[in-house]
Symmetry: C2
């Protein structure tokens, strides 16, 4: 069970009792007996950049402004230092409009390309990879004692996942302290909400660690790098291209973190081994997932 | 361990030893000792519909043609009975072009809308929901004995997940027999590959069951309905909107399937309880995930 100390670290913690985020739904169980279970709400949110409709995202709906800001930033549609003059969420029509001072470079590019590509998100893929060229993340060291402490605190934090079993979480951390824990039905939404929070609150990235429950795919690595965060950790596995991109931008990726064990496939030079792994408890079996041995 | 009988059901089974799908990567473990682990390959695949670029998807790269076909179909960009004249995969430039006889309704719509929307995938969201209006899935009964048998066979099938721990699987089944097991870094890719296979091989949907490892989100439910499959099952949880859409189209959704237990929140009238739940073994602890109790 989480102690008061664990939860007091958080600036934003999950709110598993948030009535607005879950709904009671009636059905039957395996014996045919009627049951009522709480399930996660999921709503479409259409994101605009000025007058340009960009995408409709499915979200649990807790932080629509952060989601829109972070999504646009992580897709490279908002540049570093872009002057954002407003983020307008209209709950009734389920839209968010992010407004900038002038037209963005992205909108300008889109006008020129409208006859050749149908999907903004598809088009910017190449732009994102270009945007990462020449990027080298700051060489902030990371202590293994912090990683172990974070994993333990995060595992003990009550979350919507534990309540309704349907979503992914990502946590922004500093040293051994989890700060902002975001969840959503789409894992990338959780990351984008963190990016939006950081942009909104003008939070520096160089001293941060991103901890996620899911796979370290190329998309996760790209977003982390776009956010300027030099360390990414997960209990799950890697993809080869995620590792390649991490090495290209100098990102430390730590995966398969369970109990005392982990694997580091990039940026191991940041690691300061100040914890004796033997002093870290082996993982509690109830946290194990299928395939944990591999 | 999977028996020969378990694997012989499959038309397409995962190939965990496929060298092309994984790569050995060197790194260090928690003690600092050098390790070599196999990680999943992930490649961008750009999908075109005739001359229109649609999206770039990250995929493990095993079935690019099925992925392209199924993606376009599940987004509603290819209609029922669309005349597809070719699916051309170019490995060097990592693109697939799906060619139809005439211009598709989708391309026509896109031309008219190019000044108002930037993302094809965002725009078609509304189209997809419209496309589901009036849809009622066939009333094929589903026996609980089939569901239990499927879950057991699928859990025992060696997969890339067990080898490299980084991907999701979805399995097309008929009665108690798993037929096509697709995996990918993105769960929706796995589903799209199944849809592409069904389209390519002209496989009927009314007598099929879709089993997935992940959450029963609105997107999963929409794709299953677009594919014409009346039953969707998962060990994971639901979202409220996924359930709403399922009820609207008459889809049976079964979630939280673990051992003998499950919850059905839509389409329970299809269920034929021919298995005694007490005769089904409780779930092996090693298959449990965090939050399994809820």
């Amino acid at each position: 069970m989480a102690t008061r100390d664990d939860l007091s670290d958080y600036i934003i913690a999950p709110d598993p009792d948030a009535r607005r985020l879950t709904r009671a739904v009636a059905g039957v169980d395996h014996t045919g007996a009627p049951v009522d279970i709480r399930v996660i709400e999921e709503r479409p949110l259409t994101i605009y950049l000025n007058r340009q409709e960009i995408v409709t995202a499915m979200t649990i709906g807790d932080y629509p402004e952060y989601l829109a800001l972070g999504f646009l930033r992580n897709q490279g549609m908002l540049k570093d230092g872009e002057e954002i003059i407003g983020v307008d969420y209209d709950e009734e029509v389920e839209t968010v409009v992010v407004r900038t001072v002038g037209e963005t470079t992205y909108e300008d590019k889109l006008k020129k390309k409208t006859r050749t590509s149908g999907c903004a998100v598809g088009t910017v893929f190449g732009d994102m990879m270009e945007g990462l060229e020449g990027v080298t993340l700051p060489r902030t060291p990371v202590r293994t004692s912090w990683l172990y402490a974070l994993a333990q605190k995060i595992n003990r934090t009550p979350s919507l996942y534990l309540t309704a079993g349907a979503i992914h979480g990502t946590v922004l951390c500093r040293q051994d302290r989890p700060l902002v824990y975001m969840e959503d039905v789409g894992r990338h939404n959780a990351v984008d909400k963190i990016a939006g929070w950081m942009l909104s609150e003008r939070v520096p990235a160089a001293d941060k660690i991103l901890y996620t429950t899911g796979r370290l795919t190329s998309e996760m690595v790209i977003k982390t790098a776009m956010m300027g965060i030099p360390v990414l950790a997960s209990r799950s596995g890697f993809t080869a291209w995620g590792v390649e991109i991490a090495r290209q931008v100098g990102l430390t990726v730590i995966g398969r973190m369970r109990g005392r064990r982990f694997v580091c496939l990039s940026g191991a030079e940041r690691l300061v081994r100040d914890a004796d792994p033997a002093s870290v408890p082996e993982e509690d079996r109830k946290h194990r997932r299928k395939g944990a041995a591999s």
